[in-house]
Amino acid sequence: MDFGLSEEQELLQRSAREFLTRECPTTFVRELSKEKDGFSRELHRKMAEQGWTGLLIPQGYGGLGLSMLDMALLLEEMGRAVVPGPFMFSSVLVTLALIQGGSAAQKKAWLPRLAAGEIVGTLALLEAADRLDAAGVTLKAKKNRTGYTLTGVKMFVPFAAAADVLLIAARTGGRGEDGISVFLVERDAPGLTCIPLEIFDLTRRVYEVSCNNVTVPSTALIGGEGQGWKLLSRLIDAACVALAADSLGGAQKALEMAVEYTKVRTQFNRPVASFQALKHMAAEMVSEIEPARSLVWYAAYAFDARPREASRAASMAKARLSDVYARTTNRAVQMHGGIGFTWEHDIHLWFKRAKWNEFAFGDATYHRERLAQLDGF
């Protein structure tokens, strides 16, 4: 019975926090938010030097071969630092798709480059109907002699413009789950276009991605034809864990900022931190965050170690952290008073990221119902 972190994991946490404090302060986050793609290839390269982009990748392919729990700890730090960029989509989702669904040749072709930070990937799952189930995938992949032709529109694709490759969920067959296949497509493939969709989260970018007769070779298919949904389900679980971890780190930081502010700020000749109403608000934030931390760690652990529990643990973590992060940042803004509502103060970076995290890959209501189904209520 050991529900704790190893020394290596604690070291990872510490070094990640130091690295991000140095390399990704909020001044940098704000600068990046004005850049076209909201992405710093330089930062990505530096993260690769830390081994982060290859954290999940087996050592044979140039990675560190670590666990989802290690990744969750890292993502917690990234959420804490509101790191912009496609890291989670590239180094967790696309990477996992290759590890778990790719052929030896595909792994060899892509994983070392992902690990080295040479290329960046993203996931194109959603479409206009904004549904997370198999019925949400309608983009057509038509088989031809040498491969497939993709036609259709993907929505809300994170950091598509910054990505070198897109993992696209497409329909190769009938209506059900077994009609879905997954393709790894290069972003500069002819016929593929990205239209930016502006959003309020300053740390994320999403795009409408159109495929207009995009032809790909059959080696672009990850996993067998019609085998895509199983892989995607696994990626959705991973995304839930990743977003929950990001949210946990963000919530913890928002709490700390709010508490710190109330200690410094005085009103009626005393620090506002001495007002019971604010103290209790902070205590309520703690009492939501602390048990949530255990839930996130467990979900990450279960993703690797308890396959039968993985989906329900992921849904539990995503549901809870969607609520907790949104509520925590809302309270944190309020604890700051008027200054918390300004553009100048940083707290809105977390407030907005919390809202994005809340809706991405299913909100709390969605995952509570998913849990009910998995548990057979």
């Binding site: 409408e208 005085t266 300004t342 809202k355």
Partner: protein, 395 residues
């Protein structure tokens, strides 16, 4: 109890409605999509208030000699309701009408009333409010902007913050410290300051929405004639308090909340979630119904206060909850809208595929600002428990 309006009032409502139909420029319905300080928006908003005024629909309750009509609060309520229903933009001169006007009518000299009131109504002069200061926050009375009386002039130095509309306002009504040695509530005066006076600098404060709704205003040796003092010297707290806690401005805002709720219901019917309209999802229905009930409660709650106002009864504890309940309700409505929008929720105004012009996300943040501004919910709870329930001060 009788919730029907008199025949005359119903007639009047029809008149207002048809007047609005004829006179509200269609493009003005989206006026609030422009940044608040956009010169085009300011110009059109002034024209709109002027037009309303000429129709007799602005500050109808004010005495006739200052441009009002001594009309009943019912009439003004009808106008406010119809304005919201017609999606007319709010009055650009609201601060002057709601805050300064009543103060001047009660505390101003005859000369001040004649000089200032009419131009408030016509929007010839736009006012902003100079109460908040950095470092004061909820403890308003700890303000430090200094006004020294030298001869016939006050010399003002200091800084205000969270000042809406200061970018284009012509005048500011302002609280300043005129006796730094007196206890904090006793050394404050209420001044009217021409924003064109040398020494005033306005710096916009960008909000988390990206808009510059608020400003910082700096005073450096700003000279203000003694004649611009409202009420007695050092009695400014008393003067300001009178309108500051006058909570009856709820009446228009519940209509706005109702409209927001209608928009939310429309959104729920139109959004598909997993192949069905969101409004058919039992979980969403619960949330919609809960909000609707809270909205309707506030509607009848405003009727109750309107009735008190008609009868001349002072607003009691019922009125103290308006701000707390109203702002949180508006925020909750927007919050559910975002939930319905899912991946579409974070889209900004003007972006492809955005729903309802991105207003839900904007309002979600803006209403959070309202929860914080003008006395946070925390402060509202202090007021309710202390003034309403007689519970002792905490410190």
């Amino acid at each position: 109890m009788n919730l029907t309006y008199s025949k005359e009032d119903e007639e009047f409502r029809k008149e207002v409605r048809s007047w609005l139909k004829k006179n509200l420029p269609k493009k003005d319905k989206t006026l609030s999509d422009l940044p608040p300080h956009d010169p085009e928006r300011v110009k059109r908003a002034k024209e709109w208030q002027r037009k309303l005024y000429e129709a007799g629909y602005v500050a109808m309750g004010w005495p006739k000699e200052y441009g009002g009509q001594g009309a009943s609060v019912v009439r003004q309520t009808i106008v406010n309701e119809e304005m919201v229903l017609a999606r007319a933009p709010g009055l650009i001169g609201a601060m002057g009408i709601q805050m300064l006007g009543p103060t001047l009518i009660q505390f101003g000299t005859e000369e001040q009333k004649r000089r200032y009131l009419p131009k408030i109504l016509t929007a010839e002069e736009i006012w902003c409010q100079g109460y908040s200061e950095p470092g004061a926050g909820s403890d308003l009375a700890s303000l430090r902007t200094r006004a020294e009386l030298v001869g016939d002039e006050f010399i003002v130095n200091g800084q205000k913050v969270w000042t809406s509309n200061a970018q284009f306002a012509d005048w500011m009504f302002c609280l300043v410290r005129t006796d730094p040695d007196a206890p904090k509530h006793r050394g404050i005066s209420y001044l009217l300051i021409d924003m064109k006076t040398p020494g005033i600098t306005v710096r916009p404060l960008i909000q988390m929405t990206g808009d510059a709704g608020f400003n910082e205003v700096f005073f450096e040796d700003v000279r203000v004639p003694r004649a611009n003092l409202v009420g007695e010297l050092n009695q400014g707290w008393l003067v300001a308090n009178n309108t500051l806690f006058h909570e009856r401005n709820l009446l228009g805002s519940t209509t706005r909340t109702q409209l927001m709720m209608q928009n939310l219901l429309r959104l729920a019917r139109s959004r598909q979630r997993y192949g069905k309209p969101a409004s058919e999802d039992p979980v969403i229905r619960q949330k919609l119904a809960d909000l609707l009930i809270r909205v309707e409660a506030m509607k009848y709650h405003s009727y109750r206060q309107l009735t008190d106002a008609i009868a001349g009864r002072p607003p009691g504890i019922a009125a103290m909850v308006n701000k707390l309940v109203g702002t949180e309700l508006n925020h909750d409505i927007c919050s559910l809208a975002l939930e319905l929008l899912g991946s579409y929720a974070p889209l900004n105004r003007g972006t492809p595929h955005v729903v309802d012009h991105g207003n839900w996300a904007y309002e979600f943040m803006f209403t959070l600002g309202l929860i914080i501004g003008g006395g946070t919910s925390q402060i509202q709870k202090n007021i309710i428990s202390e003034r309403g329930l007689g519970m002792p001060k905490s410190a």
